[in-house]
């Protein structure tokens, strides 16, 4: 009795994790640290992770913490502390035992295929490496898609460092030329978006300040990555910001497949 239910909830979570970030109009996934700039010898930061319509307003779905990893300034994975899942949000602590920049991230890949077989519409969803064998030879009107999603945020104790910001060359990533924990109101940050390690020219970017509940408009900043994948964001005021980038092309590793990728991050902007 218990097993099918568990399996079902697992499937829903899986489906949610695939569909949410790819649909810009749907609910938004976010990881929100309470602070990103810390100055103590034994620093701790508490982090919320959830999925909701209003950025950083916990009213819809707690995020599954199993996919979230914490990396220390050397890039080594360290354990999150005190994880717990509530109805609307998940919470955990990060103990910053080292000086430097920590990364909190969740990254996943997947694939899906749509085709026609004997006049019937078929669908498949699975692991990236299985995409090449997912569709039978006689299939018609085949559409193959690789999907990548990445969700992250950064926290620094002491001086910002860059080791943990090294890109993995998988999916859509952000190479921060401006350090993500050195952002100030009215200043312009310069980031580079990369798809599988190459400039993600034309990636669509949306930046939304938190606190949507207390204003009438989204106040979203929209921009598009240039030929080299660069974007420039001028932060209008201090606060927490949610950045979401999406990218799609037909240059996937699997032959004839599209690749579709999303990158979402939370940044704290301090007042000057």
């Amino acid at each position: 009795m218990k097993t099918p239910l568990l399996r079902l909830s697992g499937l829903i979570t899986l489906a949610l994790s695939f569909t949410l970030p790819l649909n810009a109009n749907a609910h938004r996934a976010w990881i929100l640290p309470a602070a990103t700039v810390l100055s103590s010898e034994n620093a701790w930061v508490t982090v919320d992770a959830a999925i909701s319509n209003d950025i950083f307003h916990t009213d819809y779905h707690a995020m599954d913490l199993s996919g979230i990893k914490v990396f220390n300034p050397k890039g080594e994975e360290v354990a999150m502390q005190n994880p717990s899942k509530g109805r609307y949000r998940s919470v955990f602590d990060v103990e910053l035992t080292d000086n430097g920049t920590y990364k909190i991230a969740s990254a996943s890949q997947g694939a899906f295929a749509i085709w026609e077989e004997n006049g019937e519409r078929k669908r498949w969803r699975g692991a990236l490496q299985d995409l090449g064998q997912a569709v039978p030879k006689k299939a018609k009107k085949v559409q193959l898609t690789e999907t990548h999603r990445r969700l992250e945020t950064f926290v620094t104790n002491g001086a910002p460092t860059t080791e943990v910001l090294a890109i993995t060359q998988k999916g859509l990533e952000l190479a921060p030329h401006t350090h993500p924990n050195d952002l100030f109101a009215t200043e312009t940050a310069r980031f580079q978006l990369l798809i599988d390690g190459k400039p993600a020219a034309g990636a669509e970017v949306e930046v939304i300040p938190g606190g949507m509940r207390y204003r009438d408009a989204q106040n979203a900043i929209h921009t598009t990555a240039d030929k080299e994948g660069y974007i420039h964001i001028t932060w209008p005021q201090a606060g927490m910001y949610w950045l979401s980038a999406s990218y799609e092309d037909n240059k996937a590793k699997t032959r004839h497949a599209n690749r579709r990728a999303s990158y979402t991050a939370t940044f704290e902007v301090l007042p000057l």
């Binding site: 810390l38 100055s39 010898e41 620093a43 910002p160």
Partner: protein, 170 residues
């Protein structure tokens, strides 16, 4: 007894005239608040383009156990960005305990670092204060360097800082 103290004061003045020809005065205002904590204060020199030059004085709570007082250094957020996050505290001759309400005078010499190392140009003295359960404020005092004759540069804060003065008597 009284005479002695005057003599000592005079002696101090003489020493002052030779060794220290720059005065920085920072006023910590009295505030009518229910819960008052002495502010953390950072004073440093920058070029007029905002390039950090040197720390002059940093006041923070050094008495808390396990260096807990360092936790709020980041609240002096401009200083933290320019210098604090790359500075290992305490720093001898720079860091010290928080100070009470009143005007505090610190003296420096044109013959000693950091002033002796300033190349001619436009600079600014920055003084930033952050108070637990209170506010944060930064006062900027622009000044050209070097100087002949006595000059006094004054700027005032509105909330966490009173008058900040830089008096140069080379």
């Amino acid at each position: 007894m009284k005479n002695t103290s005057i003599a000592i004061a005079l002696l101090a003045c003489t020493t002052f005239a030779h060794g220290a020809d720059i005065e920085m005065r920072i006023e910590i205002p009295a505030l009518d608040v229910a819960e008052y904590h002495r502010p953390y204060v950072a004073a440093w020199l920058e070029t007029d383009e905002g390039q950090f030059v040197a720390n002059l004085s940093i006041w923070y709570d050094q008495k808390l156990r396990n260096n807990e007082g360092e936790r709020w250094l980041k609240d002096m957020r401009q200083w933290w960005r320019k210098s604090g996050r790359t500075t290992q505290v305490p720093v001898e001759g720079i860091t010290g305990a928080t100070r009470p309400v009143g005007t505090h005078t610190l003296t420096y010499s044109t013959q000693a670092s950091p002033f002796s190392e300033l190349s001619p140009g436009q600079y600014q003295l920055r003084v930033e204060a952050a108070r637990e359960v209170g506010g944060r404020e930064m006062v900027t005092v622009p000044f050209p360097w070097p100087h002949t004759g006595t000059v006094r540069f004054t700027q005032s804060g509105d909330s966490e800082l009173g008058t900040v003065q830089l008096i140069i008597t080379p």
